[in-house]
Symmetry: C2
Subunit: 671 residues, 2 copies
């Protein structure tokens, strides 16, 4: 049943060989990786205007200038990341770039920042989509958390199906939003020169009479507005992380997509900011109506079909922004798992060749965050941004270092590509210097922004995100240390030709009654020719134990039987104690404990048998030096493989040649 | 942690040898076994009056006469069960008596009826106690279900501690209720002859103007009132079930306790009925105030402390009535489990020498019933009674048969006691005839009542109880058939001297990398000297598989390695298929699959390892002919028991003498 539901939801499993077919063409990649940065334009302007309103009309007049700075920053970051795409075609997220150029600490900091930020992205963008829905249909407000969780589940399932499939499905709303926004700009232009544009519905609202805000206070306000506007940049790094997912030529296609994304984001952000200023749209504290919807009302008219279409596209792209995180998080987690910083399960590709465990983990974390914050957008949005700019800054500084090393001829970034120690040509040197300059500007710019957003946001709740990053950082280091310790422990010394052998094997057979399962276990134990063979039973009921002894003697079982008392009728305790005592007395012996076990085929039959073997096995597993041998007896299946030999018959098994030198190393493949 | 909580709640485990100390003295036994029948008097009168009210004042006048018939019935049943106590001192519930004298069908019918009835008893009595509480504190009404569940949990925990302990704790309210009720009678007598008793608060209430009810309709009404009054008899059989729990002389003490119980019940029921009639108390449909509390108001005065004490004692004994079921159900279930009609886990005595599984099962069933019926007393009470009278009737008919056989000299009831075939004396014959007469009267009386309650209650919801009994009956038969089939299958033929042997052993070692755990598993597999030894690995990642092959050749592991392709990256499927294919090709071979497994000591370390071995083991367990050998590698524990032998060294193990004839059957005991 579980299998059928799984197939219906995520589709049939894909062969590993078909990994190549899941590569993304540019038009799909744009929808997959850029829904987050593109969606940001829907609220970045609003965030700026909202902060500025506290400074009165004077401050509001600065809005276009702040918009210009944000746009400049966006262009710088896009230009910087183009360099990364070419320099690290195997997926150069902030983590890889930092690891290669700045060391483990910086790399883990970048990774922690990004992972936390991806979770925030899902929570914030889904919640903002839900807010768009609930402000249209207030009756749904009490169910905001449930709707948000439902959307996350849908996104997770779509991504479990595969990036390409989900990308195709999600491309429609992305392109619809872009198209409709551009249409709005054109419409606004036509209307402005013909009938004239009506001002925004909030244009007449009074602003606080704080004309006295000036000097340092005004500067702080402008800085805070800028920091808020920087939300427009979230998700820009996704493409550089995802270069391997692109069709060939990967780096080139990724760079082109990145440029297109930058272009779209700048145009939409610029246009919306210009219109907001022109229409004098004010941001309301509860965000309803939002600035972008006020603009749409002015341009399209409040009741027109195209207005509703635009609103729907806005809500859809806000939710889809989460999809960027659903692509970024599992990929980054998989790289971290490969490098042994996260549990290795995150490195496995699932049925559909996506990193299923990462997708499920991200969805679970986002759901927890939404429940914890009760789907409150205002509080969630504060957690945001710091992670993005931490990774931006580290990544850019890493790139500066990368180019520096290229110039010195010790580039390691291209993964053992061409050796550059034989000298660089003048043109190449020039190109590298130009790239380095771009990244230097990006690094300084993003570092300044990081300081600004940290200073302005940390008291508003962002400390929680910082704490999460630190915890994750420490956990990843500990995980790595653990894996390295395990590897060191289990890796045999390649120069030591010694073969590990069990020095002495003592087989212990557990019996309760002398029925066929027990006889099988005894026979198998004998067949393994241990140095010592004994049987053990537990005395819970004197009468039953007496019966067992009588049967034992009657059948003349040639194995000594030990009776362990169980005065408290506890099945596990005395047996575990017995095995541990045996082991303490013979520390150089490996104990093989043979457990005869009924195996039934129907669930209700399970209810009719004591499941003590199961619990006993589980506890024995944690006893060092003990090997558990499960001898199942399948009820109703018969005696296949087990012969009724005549008494006195010698075991039919012939031993493997005991000399480990002899015997060819035959290796076969089975398909 | 779990252990500490368990110790706190139920106490330290008791040794099996201390079973004798848990026997009950009469005064505790009365509280343990009789809280149900004694508590019934608190509502039996009310049930009669409630039904009669529909027939108007004429019908109400019949109340005392119906009371007399119920009291007579009670005396008859008590007298009958006294016979059972002596005839079946090892616990002669309706099940045992029916099994010995009437056959399996009747016995299972009686058992099913009783088991269902015990569950109903818990649900009904706890719910009625909760109703008493919520009518005193209406603010608690919405939490009725939660309070009821809480009370059941408390009762279950007290019983898990032990019958004696819970009996002592619960004796106080039982004796308090009896004492206070007797006090009320005395007080009422004194008041009646001095100041006079005020009528009940409901005395003036108009009854339906149905003076026309007569003839057949009136008869039906009286019969229904009688059937309702029969609730006074529930729980009477508990003592005859629990004879083994009494101190010696068991049968005598049980009979004395039973007589005392009968006496108390008749006196209380009679007194309350007389007072209800004298004060003209009417039953209200919602039972608030109840008839017994109306009487208490009249006698003690509504606001007096003794009135509140009486109310508290009434509520307490209503809840404690469930305790009778908590003693009856586990004991009966244990006997049924011993006879293989119920899962054998129900036969095990827990830590505290009580049948813990039965207690937990009863509590769970009662909780389910209360949740299912939303703690609605009116609906729950209808399910009641049919079970009790089914078991009464079968038990009495069984006793009649028992005495008949005693007279014929073929008594089997006393469990191989004295042989009576050498003829009975005249006095003995006379005694047996008298006992038989008592049981015959009881049998006929209860059979008539059974027909009456069935006819009057089955349409009011009791059909559900009947369905439950039928289902349980069928399930018990099926369980017995299953156990018998299994026993037949696994019991070796005692006349067949053949020894079961694995005809041929093929050891398969599962490897992923050639690390120490894998080397250990390989070495152990070799040490067991199988006929065939091979290794198998799964190709998920070509690079890793190539590395394994290289290591394999470099170390010259003298075992052929098979590579199984896993194109869908599924770990279990291909391996299971491979093992099944091997097995299909060699049906006469036993496959020992050696699984190297990391064992970690901290829970978070579990997260860092794939748990695929666990799932693989679970699936292999269901593959016939396959034995799973768990070779654990305890991280951080070291190499105890495993030696680094020089290459070429022969296994250090020496085989057990392969001739099964030789070797003494040594049996030791370990304490």
């Amino acid at each position: 049943v579980f299998d059928v539901v799984k197939r219906l939801l995520v589709g049939r499993p894909l062969r590993s060989a078909r990994l190549g077919e899941t590569l993304l063409p540019k038009r799909v990649a744009l929808a997959v990786f850029c829904s987050d940065p593109i969606s940001s334009v829907a609220y970045a302007t609003e965030q700026i205007v909202l902060v500025l309103a506290a400074g009165g009309l004077v401050a509001l007049r600065a809005a276009p200038w702040i918009g210009v700075v944000v746009a400049l920053l966006l262009v710088t970051v896009v230009a910087s990341y183009r360099q990364t795409c070419f320099a690290y075609p195997s997926g150069g997220g902030a983590y890889v770039v930092s690891r290669e150029n700045l060391g483990e600490g910086a790399a883990l900091a970048a990774a922690a920042a990004l992972l936390v930020d991806y979770v925030m992205t899902v929570a914030v963008s889904v919640t903002s989509g839900v807010v768009a829905v609930t402000s249209a249909f207030p009756v749904l407000s009490p169910h905001a958390v449930a709707i948000a969780i439902g959307l996350i589940v849908v996104l997770a399932l779509a991504n479990l199906r595969g990036t390409k499939e989900s990308g195709r499905a999600f491309a429609v709303p992305t392109y619809a939003f872009v198209g409709l926004t551009v249409l709005m700009f054109v419409w606004a232009g036509v209307k402005a020169v013909t009938v004239g544009l009506p001002p925004a519905s909030t244009a007449g609202l009074p602003v606080p009479a704080t004309s006295g805000v000036a000097g340092l206070a005004m500067l702080l306000l402008l800085v805070r507005a800028f920091a808020s506007g920087c939300t427009a940049l979230t998700g820009v790094e996704a493409i550089s992380n995802g270069v391997p997912s692109f069709e060939k030529p990967k780096a080139r296609n990724a760079a082109i997509t990145l440029t297109m994304m930058g272009l779209i984001a700048v145009v939409l952000f610029g246009g919306i900011t210009v219109l907001a200023v022109a229409l004098d749209a004010r941001a309301l504290p509860d965000g309803d109506p939002s600035v972008i919807s006020q603009i749409a009302v002015s341009v399209f008219g409040g009741g027109s079909p195209v207005f509703y279409l635009f609103q729907a596209a806005t809500a859809a792209i806000l939710v889809l922004a989460a999809n960027t995180a659903f692509n970024g998080f599992p990929g980054l987690a998989s790289i971290l798992a490969r490098d042994r910083y996260l549990p290795r399960q995150l490195h496995n590709r699932g049925d559909r060749l996506v990193f299923s465990n990462g997708i499920v983990l991200l969805a679970a974390a986002a759901v927890a965050l939404i429940i914890g914050f009760d789907a409150n957008l205002d509080r969630l949005i504060q957690l945001y941004i710091i992670g993005v700019f931490t990774s931006f800054t580290l990544s850019q500084f890493g790139m500066v270092r990368h180019w520096q090393r290229s110039l010195r001829g010790s580039d390691t970034g291209r993964g053992g590509g061409r050796s550059v120690s034989d000298g660089l040509g003048g043109a190449e040197r020039h190109a590298i210097r130009r790239s380095q300059a771009i990244n230097t500007i990006g690094a300084i710019f993003t570092a300044v922004v990081l300081v600004v957003v940290f200073a302005t946001k940390v008291t508003h709740g962002a400390w929680l995100a910082v704490v999460a990053m630190v915890v994750l950082f420490v956990a990843m280091r500990a995980t790595n240390r653990y894996y390295r310790r395990v590897t060191a422990e289990v890796t045999p010394d390649p120069d030591d030709p010694a073969v590990t052998l069990p020095s002495r094997v003592h087989a212990v057979v557990l019996v309760s009654r002398l029925h066929k399962p027990a006889l099988r276990a005894l026979a198998l134990a004998r067949a393994t020719r241990p140095a010592v063979l004994s049987a053990v039973t537990l005395n819970i009921d004197d009468e039953e134990t007496r019966q067992l002894r009588a049967d034992w003697e009657q059948r003349a079982v040639p194995v000594p039987l030990t009776v362990v008392e169980a005065p408290y009728r506890d099945l596990n305790g005395p047996l575990i104690t017995y095995v541990k005592q045996l082991r303490a007395a013979n520390p150089q012996t490996v104990f093989m404990v043979f457990i005869p076990e009924y195996v039934v085929t129907k669930w209700w039959q399970q209810l009719l048998h004591n499941q003590s073997a199961l619990r006993f096995k589980a506890r024995l597993l944690f006893t060092p030096g003990v090997v558990v041998v499960d001898v199942p007896y399948h009820l109703g299946v018969g005696d296949q493989g087990w012969l009724g030999a005549r008494r006195g018959a010698v075991m039919a098994t012939s031993a493997v040649d005991p000399d480990p030198e002899i015997g060819a190393t035959e290796i076969r493949s089975v398909r």
